[in-house]
């Protein structure tokens, strides 16, 4: 992936928007320095500012979108840390470390297929917007369990998305890897020239990687692991890459499908 210059810093940021988007929560905060340089696929470590010791650590969140001096994140409340973050109100302050990680490699020029699942669609919105802005031919395939999650697809501005839900309550009924299989078959031999970008649950990304391998396409995968520091200090966030452990925070979170080993 692209190496990013040393530019992360810790900022105290005011929350200017905090609203529910179906099952998720969209938060925008003022972080002009981050917004100015953020690349698709990078992330931030965020927590509520202040001395409270529980939750203790910031949580990694993909940069969902940037707009002028605002950075936006899309959060699924799954546990202690994310519940506290989604409770944020306008005017609250976040402690934000970023931007972190190497983003997606945007140097390709061929057609791109973006495949997201669940809250994994969060960082793909900025990616889709950026690729579309560069005139690249893109398709977005987004899969969710049910409608209340799938409304997040509305956050993809200026790009067409194909949606599926497992229960058929919005878009096609099925899983996103089925949409991908159809898309690749439809492309015929041209599928080998496609570049796939994916973020979502492990099983979903694995299916995407398998489909890519079958048709000879390249794929970039954004992984989510438990993180403490976000800056390569704790060695806690490792994934297996080319036969060794590598930190997802500073050597990812985006990896080439071919180098990632799945457990």
């Amino acid at each position: 992936m692209e190496t990013v210059p040393a530019q992360a810093d810790l900022y105290q940021c005011s929350v200017v928007e905090s609203r529910t988007v179906g099952a998720y929560h969209l938060i925008a905060f003022v972080a002009g320095e981050i917004a100015a340089v953020a690349r698709p696929g990078q992330f931030v470590m965020i927590r509520q500012s202040g001395p409270a010791l529980d939750p203790l650590l910031p949580r990694p969140m993909g940069i969902h979108d940037v707009e002028a001096d605002l950075v936006k994140v899309l959060i699924e409340p799954v546990g202690k840390g994310t519940v506290v973050l989604t409770d944020a109100r306008v005017g609250d302050r976040f402690s934000v470390l970023g931007p972190l990680g190497n983003g997606f490699d945007l140097s390709g020029e061929g057609p791109a297929v973006i495949v997201g699942g669940g809250v994994g669609v969060a960082p793909l919105a900025l990616l889709a917007g950026t690729l579309a802005g560069r005139g690249r031919d893109i398709r977005c395939l987004l899969g969710f369990k049910t409608r209340v999650q799938a409304v997040a697809a509305g956050l993809f501005r200026d790009v067409d998305v194909d949606i599926c839900t497992e229960d058929g309550t919005m878009g096609r009924k099925g899983v996103v890897s089925d949409l991908l299989a159809e898309c690749l078959i439809g492309l015929g031999p041209a599928a080998a020239g496609v570049e796939l970008f994916t973020c979502g649950p492990g099983a979903m990304m694995r299916a995407v990687v398998d489909a890519a391998r079958e048709c000879g396409a390249d794929a970039q995968v954004s992984v989510a692991t438990h993180m403490a520091c976000g800056v390569g200090a704790c060695q806690g966030c490792v994934v297996r890459v080319d036969g060794e452990y590598r930190c997802a925070c500073n050597q990812g979170p985006v990896f080439r499908a071919g180098e990632l080993e799945w457990r």
């Binding site: 972190l100 403490a228 390569g232 060695q235 966030c237 490792v238 452990y245």
Partner: protein, 307 residues
């Protein structure tokens, strides 16, 4: 009243009493990520890199981290590149830091402590050595030798024989009698004690009810363990005549004050760096303010106040 924050730790001159805890701040990695120029303006008063062992260790399977109530459970498993690569790749760069370097070493066999210490003894970049005796030991079926006073003494004596550098032994709290360990280490030649390493613990995933860490159990750090650490620092510093580096949950200036009043000459910050990798600078400032408020003019006047 002007507070002078300069401190000394044995022969090491420190700009202030706050250093980092091994394994929680990686200046070489951070320098590649953070905008701050860490080599020009290093926030801690000394730098302790992650523990290195004779051979590289790949560490434990993920997940390696889980947050608990005001704490962090980790099972990193001493993942490190090995002492040869540390000497070849890292030492030359770490030598450029404007603060003393305290190398942390561990070994899977007791003999290894002497060998690691000997390998670093000739390197002027290294101001002091810290023995991490919490490494899984092959002679003890993977138990840490630091749980056994005799083996701790043996490892310390081996390192003592191999180096003239300031020698710190880092004690584990996972024993019935931490004072016995402290005595064993000092009698075997330790110049200083680091107190404490992480506390054994475990978490279950609340949904699957299976262990949340890949290694099943791990080490607990952060504010949750501060009272455990404070007691150990207090007991040890009251009874032994060597300087103590206090650590375990220090996050605020008041925590640092308490560790020093309990008897710590310097305080190491670990898990709190994950909240803010650059917290040392504001922490030192606030420490000075809090000392001033209490009429304490220097770290010396603070150390052991609670005794």
């Amino acid at each position: 009243m002007a507070v002078n924050m300069e401190s000394s730790l044995g022969p090491l001159r420190l700009r202030h009493p706050i250093i980092n805890a091994s394994g929680t701040f990686d200046v070489l990695a951070a320098d590649r990520v953070l905008a701050a120029d860490l080599f020009a303006d290093f926030p801690f008063a000394a730098y302790v890199p992650k523990t290195v062992t004779l051979k590289p260790r790949e560490g434990n399977p993920p997940p390696r981290l889980y947050e608990t109530a005001a704490g962090l459970l980790n099972s990193i498993g001493l993942a490190n590149k090995g002492i040869d690569a540390f000497i070849a790749d890292d030492l030359p760069r770490l030598g450029r830091l404007p603060v003393p370097l305290i190398a942390s070493i561990a070994a899977e066999e007791t003999d290894g402590y002497g060998r690691c210490a000997g390998m670093l003894d000739g390197h002027d970049e290294v101001a002091a050595l810290e023995l991490n005796v919490s490494c899984p030991n092959v002679e003890l079926d993977g138990k840490a030798l630091g749980c056994d006073p005799d083996l701790t003494a043996r490892a310390t004596a081996q390192a003592r024989a191999a180096t003239g550098k300031f020698l710190i032994v880092k004690l584990t709290p996972n024993v019935t009698d931490i004072l016995a360990l402290a005595h064993a280490a000092v009698e075997a030649g330790a110049d200083c004690l680091s107190v404490i390493n992480t506390v054994h613990g475990m978490v279950l995933d609340p949904w699957t009810l299976k262990p949340a860490l890949g290694h099943v159990t791990g080490g607990l750090s952060g504010p949750a363990i501060k009272p455990v650490a404070l007691r150990a620092v207090y007991l040890i510093s009251r009874e032994l005549d060597v300087p103590v580096i206090g650590m375990g949950g220090a996050t605020s200036a008041n925590d640092v004050l308490e560790f020093m009043a309990a008897g710590a000459t310097a305080v190491a910050v670990g898990t709190a760096s994950f909240r803010d990798p650059l917290l040392a600078a504001p922490l030192v400032q606030e420490l000075g303010r809090q000392m001033e408020l209490r009429g304490i003019a220097s770290p010396e006047q603070l150390v052991g106040r609670s005794h």
